[in-house]
Symmetry: C3
Subunit: 152 residues, 3 copies
Amino acid sequence: MLLRLAALFAEYAATIDSDRLEEWPDFFVPECLYKITSADNHKRGYAAGIVYADSQAMLRDRITALRGANIFERHSYRHIIGLPLIRGEESDGVKAETPFLVTRTMRDGTTDLFATGVYLDRVREIEGRLLFAERIVVCDSSRFDTLLVIPL
Amino acid sequence: MLLRLAALFAEYAATIDSDRLEEWPDFFVPECLYKITSADNHKRGYAAGIVYADSQAMLRDRITALRGANIFERHSYRHIIGLPLIRGEESDGVKAETPFLVTRTMRDGTTDLFATGVYLDRVREIEGRLLFAERIVVCDSSRFDTLLVIPL
Amino acid sequence: MLLRLAALFAEYAATIDSDRLEEWPDFFVPECLYKITSADNHKRGYAAGIVYADSQAMLRDRITALRGANIFERHSYRHIIGLPLIRGEESDGVKAETPFLVTRTMRDGTTDLFATGVYLDRVREIEGRLLFAERIVVCDSSRFDTLLVIPL
């Protein structure tokens, strides 16, 4: 299962980093939960999140909005995904916890650390394919001004 | 074995990054060697290290001291562990070499590179569980002012 | 195959980061293609690359030149290799796509992000050993002033 998760996470990251954002919602089940939050808010149990979507349809809307709004030349992003830690395999899916780091490269060529944190996932197998039933993106930083641009 | 090492390293990193430091010594055998050193000192064969502990009890003392001293709000850390390289499986354990990168997020939300380097490990299986007999943390930088705060 | 690729990439990175550059060409088949390019140039289909070598002999020449030219004390580098994504296994080799991040530590102890990007590989098995038939290093940034120093 570790290897299958690793393959899923690698594919997910490559989809975002190569700007194939329209394919991103396909990684989720129709009734999913996707959330970006901060470690502080997560620890305090705040449900809201900075980004919150509880269906694949909302994820699609998000990409449509992003494509419409984004009139400037894009930065590019690079996800480095750490080693997944499987927390349990239950009837509602596999729970895993996986650290990540995302860098951003500006048009002028400078690269900086964009976000670090941990993915808290519940992954289910649907017709032989692994999909996210839940992906909570817990960012180490609480600064979210620019985080809203791309999916993490 | 690669997969088992990957799981061990992921668990180790998650324990530190989620501030469950009291559990950190449990990753080691009672008569262990844990050392943080720099690449320069390691190359020159200096045994001492910046941090040096040759028993699990010393690791526990270290966490107690750290908890007592640490009156300020904590930064948070994120370990990104690279792909492990198995150097040999011998009677005294599996030798592996694994690159790492640690970021630090300050309370104000800024994130920087905290440390990079390589773990030189000797891992033994005790009653079905993998434990560190030796973990030498070789940091690329020789600057250690802040490195003393958390385990790496 | 994912595990074998992971072991290959870990070995490749360790060879560079521990400055055993003379061994670096041994990771390639004699008639290989090694190229460092930028994401922009790659997208536009420019074949040239900033660094271009189409044989193992050229890779060896490159290291010889680098050793000759490099009269200053070396920086050190650390490759963090992400999870490999296998794109297909064909008769001419396994195609894989793997994100990477390289940090550089200066002699004064400061560490920065040196390069991020993705490896586009074609790996072949020759007498039981995996070798690169092709390694295209696509860097996220187009700034290449210092990129020419070490292999990526």
